[in-house]
Symmetry: C2
Subunit: 143 residues, 2 copies
Amino acid sequence: MPVGTSLRSACPINALVESVGDPWSLLILRDVVLRRRFRYSEFQRSDEGIATNILAERLKRLVRDGFLEKRADPGDRRSSLFLPTDRTLDLIPLLFAAMAWSARHEPTAEIPAGILEAYRADPLGTTAMLVSDIRQIQEGLTV
Amino acid sequence: MPVGTSLRSACPINALVESVGDPWSLLILRDVVLRRRFRYSEFQRSDEGIATNILAERLKRLVRDGFLEKRADPGDRRSSLFLPTDRTLDLIPLLFAAMAWSARHEPTAEIPAGILEAYRADPLGTTAMLVSDIRQIQEGLTV
DNA sequence: CGATTGACTTGCATAATGCAAGCTAATAGC
DNA sequence: GCTATTAGCTTGCATTATGCAAGTCAATCG
């Protein structure tokens, strides 16, 4: 949520809903965290088919609200990188909770092989691995 | 989602977003699971202030999509009870992940005392306790 | 140097949400 | 048993969000 805006309530679950509870924000953050996609064109390619105007607006909001940082792409000056902040990386447990729920209750959902089991066996370790992985890619991209 | 409706993608995170990713569904389920509220009027009283038409429509959808079961309230024939199915109870880990995220990243969020610590110390046990608690209340209400 | 790509913006149609009022059956108070 | 209140809605309308198609513009590719 924007810094000066008040939430509908003090409830922590409501806070999350108001932050990333629209139909697209969480999917963009999923792309960033679980698929290592950092560019506008990469988000656009995801299966859900986000409209370009919505994507642009949502990226602005996610930057404004501290979920993403926008940086120049050193490899292509037309492009920018949208890199995750801690605010986003701390959503990893929630993303896995969502995956676990769908694995049980949405028979049509395709669960990426292995990752959910790895998380179940060692949540903190798997999270730490994902984070360090992303940090490493970031270093490679921003040098 | 409605039974015959296809999802935007096969992604499990998208499946959850399409099921309860609107601004209200998850808050209603929070009321049911964490606050033991089962009635229309109780949902209406929550701080977020849901509009009556939205609440009615959302309850219908949550029943249709298998999150809630509607039963007669034995104590008052005007009233109905909206009771959680397993589909809803299995959202407990996600609700706690949301609470934990807000506890860290939303300073204005008020975290209910003790429950998050209890969940951190023993997730499965705390979940089981919540579930058996709700089941017990249900028995008391539906006898 | 012309064609393509990346990252948008603009305009407009449709859908979702929000607000206020009203309505009906059941219950509570007297 | 008559009246007021409550529970659970529905309806109408304004506002906001989302979706779709097209267009812009600078950087890059061939």
